[in-house]
Symmetry: C2
Subunit: 410 residues, 2 copies
Amino acid sequence: MQQFLEESKKISREIATLSGEIKNRVLLEMADALMEHCDFIVSNNEKDMSHAKLNNLPEALLDRLLLTGERVEAMANALREIAALKEPVGRVLDGWVTQNGLNIQKVSIPIGVIGIIYESRPNVTSDTAALCFKSGNVCVLKGGKEAEHSNSAIANVLRHVLAKNKIPEQAISLIPDSSREGVATLIKQDKYVDLIIPRGGEALIRYVSENSTVPVVKHDKGLCHIFIDEAANHEKAIQIAINAKVQRPGVCNSMETLLIHKDVAPYILPPLYEAFMSYNTQLKGCEVTRKYIDIKCATQEDYDTEYLANILNIKVVKNVDEAIFHIAKHGSGHSESIISENYTTVNKFLNEVDAACVYANASTRFTDGGAFGLGAEVGISTNKLHSRGPMGINDLTTFKYKIYGNGQVR
Amino acid sequence: MQQFLEESKKISREIATLSGEIKNRVLLEMADALMEHCDFIVSNNEKDMSHAKLNNLPEALLDRLLLTGERVEAMANALREIAALKEPVGRVLDGWVTQNGLNIQKVSIPIGVIGIIYESRPNVTSDTAALCFKSGNVCVLKGGKEAEHSNSAIANVLRHVLAKNKIPEQAISLIPDSSREGVATLIKQDKYVDLIIPRGGEALIRYVSENSTVPVVKHDKGLCHIFIDEAANHEKAIQIAINAKVQRPGVCNSMETLLIHKDVAPYILPPLYEAFMSYNTQLKGCEVTRKYIDIKCATQEDYDTEYLANILNIKVVKNVDEAIFHIAKHGSGHSESIISENYTTVNKFLNEVDAACVYANASTRFTDGGAFGLGAEVGISTNKLHSRGPMGINDLTTFKYKIYGNGQVR
C-alpha cells in the first residue's frame, strides 16, 4: 500500500498541472465510455446484487446498490455536468503588492492525493473520481465490499480513458483491499495522502477521525433545528416546518427538533399538529407542548438523536436565547433556521448560532451543493475548518502564494 | 481538565460576539496594564531565569527566556498594534443569490477554542492571547515549564483586565499542568477544542500531529531552496542567495540548499564562493560543484537537513525540471525561489513547485506575516489545508453561511 501511495503522490504533480481543456475532454470521453460499457457495468453490478440478496441486505440498501441502464446514463450525465463547471484551479483568491514591491498572489491549487472512503452507492465512484480529476487531484477510492464488482467495473472504464489519453491511470484508483485494515493503513499515510473524506456511518467516521494522521473532512450527522419565534408568520412557519421534516426525512439536512416560542405555542401547535398528522409524522414533545397537543413525551436523549426518519421532537422555549442555548447544546453544527419577521431577533439568531448554515425563514433542506448553486457536490462537510457545509469542486482545492519579485532581499 | 475545557467552550459563544469596539478597548487596557505591572512581570521572570541558569540552559535559550523593561514595553506595543488591525470577524467572504431567491452570505467567524502549545519565549503568551482575543476566540495556552512564572504573571495581568471589563477571565487561560500529560489530554478534547497550534521542536509537533483528534495547524520545519536558472541575473542571484542564507540562518524561511543550472555553474560558483566566504558560511557541494570550488562533499542526508545554521548545500542541476524534482523530493513545502529572467521558466517554476510560498527573484526570507503585510503573525503554517504560509489574524477565523430566505421550501 505504501509503495502504491508513494506512486500516487508522485503522479499528483502531473495531474495538478493538466490544463482545463484536457481535463474536460477526458471527462466527456469518460461519460461516453460509461455509456458504451453500460452492459459491462450492469453485469458486474448483477454480481454484487445477487451477493447482496444472498446476504439478505435490506431493501433500501439493495436499491442504493442497484445499477440500471438509466442509472448509468445518469452517471454519464453527471460527468458531463462536472466537465462544464468552471475551472477550479488557478483562481486568484487574493492579491496585493507589499511596500517593497513584492507582488503577492494567493492562487487556488489542487490538494494533491485525496482518499475517499464510502459505502454502497456505486455512482459515488464515478462522481468523486470526476470531481477529483476536474480539480487536479489524484483520488484513492475505498468503496464498500458490497459494491466491489460495480466499483471496479466503473473505475476500469474511467482508467481506460485516462490510459488512452496518456494520463497515468493511477490518477483514479480503487484500493483493492475492502477490509477495515485497508482503511487503517490509508489514514496513517500522511506522507502521501493530503486529505481523507469519509462518507458513511457514524462509527466509520468516528474511527477515521480518531485514528487518522491525515487531515479529515467529515460528512457525518445533521441534527438540525427550526425555531419558530413569537414574531413568525404562522403560514410560512408551518410550511417550512413540514418541508424540513417530511420532504425527505432520511437526509442530514432534515429537521429533528422544532423549537417554538412560548407565546405562539398555543396558537401554532394545533394547526401544526393537524399538518404533521396528514404526513403521519410521529411527534414527541416537552411537557409544555403536551398541554396543547396530545403527543408522546420527548426525553433528553431524543434531543440528541438524529432520527433520519419521520419523527420529530417539539419543545417550547421562553425566547430566542433559550432556542440558541438549546441548539448550542444539542445541535451538530449543520443547519439551523429561525422563522421570524423581527429584524433584531433574526440577526441575533444568524449571528449567534454556530453552524455551517444558519437560515432565516427558509427550510434547512437547502443545505446542499445543488441548492446552493455550487454544482456537483462532494458532500456536506461537518468540519469547522477548511471546508464547512456544502462542498463544491472549489473545496477540493487549497492555495499557495506566488510572489513576483525583482531582486528583493531583507 | 475536561470540565475546565467545557467551560472554555461555553464562554466561547460570548467571546465570539464581542464587538470590535470592546475588544480593541480591552486590548489597549491590557497594553497599559503590562506597562503598569512591568516590575511584577520582570520579577517573576527572574525566578524562571535563575532556575534556568541552575539547570544550565544554553545561552541562546536564556536570551529567549529573558524579559526586561524594554521587552515588556515591546509586548505592550504588540498589543496596541493588534488592537489597530482591521476587525477579522464578520467579513463577507462571498455572497450570491440562488435561483429561488435565497440570499447566501459566507461570513468569517471565530474558530472557537484554540489550544496553543509553545516553548520558552514568554512574549508569545501576550501575543497569542491578544491575537486570539481580537479574533473572538478563547485561547488555552500551554507554555513551557521553563517560563512558568513569567507566563503566569503575564496571563494574570491580562486576565485582570478581562475581569475589570466583566468579560469571562477564562477567555485567556494557561493550562497549569506543564507536563507532557497536559498536552496529551488537551489534544484529545475535540468536543471542546476546535484547533491546536503547536509551536516548537519537531518531536513535539510530530507527537501532536500523530495523536491529536483536534485539527492541528503545524508550524514546523522549513527546508527551503533557491534555484539559480541559466537565465538568472548573476548579481541579483548572488545577493538573494547570500541574503536567504546568512541574514538570519536560524529561522525557518532561510535557505538550506542552493540549486544551480549547469550552464551557469562555472561562472557563478566562484563569485558565490567568495561572497559566502566573507560571511564564513560552511559550504557543502555535489560532485559537479566541487569541480569549480573547493568545498566539502554534500551527502544525501544533507539535502534533507534543516541546518538552522550558517551551513549551505550547493547542487548543480541539468535544468529547471531537475530543480523542481529535487525540491519535490527534499523540500518541506515552506518557501522556494527561482532566480531567472526567462518568462517561461519562471512561470513553470511558480506553477509546478508545491510550497506555501513560491518566489521569483526574491529571497525566501520574506515568508512572514510582517513582510507579507498581514500585521502581527500567529506563525507560519506548514499545513497544506486551512492555513498555509504566514498566518495573520484572519487565519484565526473560519466561516459560516448566513442564508436569508422569505419562506422557501423544497
